[in-house]
Subunit: 173 residues, 2 copies
Amino acid sequence: MVSETTKTITQIKKRKESSNQPTTRLQRRSTGEGLSIGDVAKRAGVSVQTLHFYESKGLIVSSRNAGNQRRFHGNMLRRVAIIKSAQKLGLSLNEISEAFASLPKTKSPTTKQWQQMSKGWREKLQNKIDSLIALRDQLDSCIGCGCLSIKSCSLRNPDDSASNDGVGAVFLK
Amino acid sequence: MVSETTKTITQIKKRKESSNQPTTRLQRRSTGEGLSIGDVAKRAGVSVQTLHFYESKGLIVSSRNAGNQRRFHGNMLRRVAIIKSAQKLGLSLNEISEAFASLPKTKSPTTKQWQQMSKGWREKLQNKIDSLIALRDQLDSCIGCGCLSIKSCSLRNPDDSASNDGVGAVFLK
DNA sequence: GTAAAACCTATAGTTAACTATAGGTCAAGA
DNA sequence: TCTTGACCTATAGTTAACTATAGGTTTTAC
């Protein structure tokens, strides 16, 4: 056993404040004590370390129980769901973080807030789709001619401001 | 000056084999000695280190001149162009590498080979577009209802085999 | 011929998004 | 009560795709 001094002041304080009644996981859930990190991990389909990581990035928040263990509000499940969805859309955690900035930290977002956020994402998503379609069409034309000239191929050069020194259709031979 | 012994055997051998006539960059280009790494970098719009990196991954190949400097065949410009395009399509260097495996290492690919490769990519691209569109539509329905239930939201659960323990529409309140 | 620019290799650092490990504490159930 | 599993923190490692730096050699341009 380790002495009390190895614990942080916060922990000691919390311990003193709490009455130490054991609760089952079911009780915890129904009494609103919050979800353990393992519960969230299992139900959201991510690893515990990933949740630690998300918390360190400020993407999710938790409180602590008497024993310094994290307790999550149910809406954090939603948060994780949103994170995972947004990643599928190709958004980075930073972008997601920015979107979350507009939402309440601990309470569930209102329908309106959620709609606003998802509308922004819908736009991003639509942009992504548009540019992929453009790329596909360019690729189609390249398949047609069999060429990919540095200078003239639109697949390569939609936004390319690289060297201009007269390569020409060198690959067309 | 550093003694001959600091050089590799290969370098010494090469040096002995070569007559040391200076050539200008223009001469090099026209005599077919090949492009320097700087030329390729400038004309392909990537950094010299990136080319080193690509070479170390086997994505491009080069020979060496008498002084141990890389000389690239013109078709490596095309390679780099292809790499950059494919990355825009969301392909990893590994995937690109695999695609290249079917192409001749040093010679220019034939039109047919190139077409075959780009057709494969077109398919990948189309798949990507399709799944983004599906995601967008799911997001639309979520915007409509304002919900993102862990259990029922199709945005979250298209392929989700995570925990099943009865969360239900907990966020719908 | 000489100085500057371009090369060379090798190594280390960077960002994103995690995953793994160590060493210790807390909680749940038999 | 006691064992086992879940937690805790902190640190290190991983992969992808590069970027940066150091210290030395070659080429080019004047």
